[in-house]
């Protein structure tokens, strides 16, 4: 059961496994990444444990085309990357920024992106070892107003 899409069929191989959960949601270890043509580029991270828990995310490059991923050793290990494995977004990894949408606007957490190891579907919310990015990066563009704001288009 999902928050937005009712009953959804899925294959076990599609499940993203977060061995450590997410900060604040440590018990939530299994998610689906759902996409719909109408809502692209949004990615819905639906908890399989809690139907009403669904994060809304976007690929980090949709927020910052020059984004550079930095992961701690601990997070690399949690996501099942080999010690010397190069992590390339779009190749062996997906990297999503969770959005916060409230009255003041839309922000993306680029400090702690969700990194998925595409060869194992192990995932981690990788809070960067250095604070180069903000956990509340505003989405640029006046059309991206707060909840209920009509985009001008």
């Amino acid at each position: 059961m999902t928050k937005y899409f009712g009953e959804t069929q899925f294959d076990e191989s599609a499940v993203l496994r977060f061995p450590a959960g997410l900060p604040g949601f440590e018990e939530e270890k299994r998610f689906l990444a759902l996409e719909q043509p109408e809502q692209r580029p949004l990615v819905f991270l639906q908890s399989l444990n809690t139907p009403e828990l669904c994060f809304v995310a976007v690929p980090v490059f949709a927020v910052d085309p020059g984004y550079r991923l930095e992961m701690s050793e601990a997070d690399r290990t949690l996501a099942g990357f080999q010690a010397n494995e190069e992590i390339r977004i779009g190749a062996n990894a997906a990297c999503l920024a969770i959005l916060t949408i409230d009255e003041s606007g839309v922000t993306a957490n680029l400090l702690g992106p969700v990194v998925v190891n595409l060869s194992s579907n192990l995932a981690v919310q990788a809070v960067a070892p250095e604070m180069r990015y903000s956990h509340r990066t505003p989405l640029a563009g006046s059309a991206l107003g707060g909840r209920g704001t009509e985009p001008c288009c």
Binding site: F25, R40, I101, A128
Partner: protein, 73 residues
């Protein structure tokens, strides 16, 4: 309080903060604490609070509008 590498600080009876290495740009700390006291970097705490806020997204109509605005960028 001033400490050098190899020295430590005690907080109460159960918590010890060890200064392991000091370089011009970073300090390596070791922290000994009881299991029930979580030790996390401040950034992890920021992300935890942000996740709580993000866990209540708006309805699908708002999200469809947001997605459309993102595609037009």
């Amino acid at each position: 309080m001033r400490r050098r590498a190899g020295e430590s600080i005690r907080i109460g009876d159960d918590i010890e903060i060890q200064v392991i290495e000091v370089t011009p740009t970073r300090v390596t700390l070791g922290i000994v604490a009881p299991r029930e006291i979580p030790v996390v970097r401040s950034e992890v705490r920021l992300t935890r609070e942000q996740n709580r806020a993000a866990a209540e997204p708006p309805g699908m109509d708002s999200l469809t509008l947001l997605a459309r605005a993102l595609r037009l960028r």
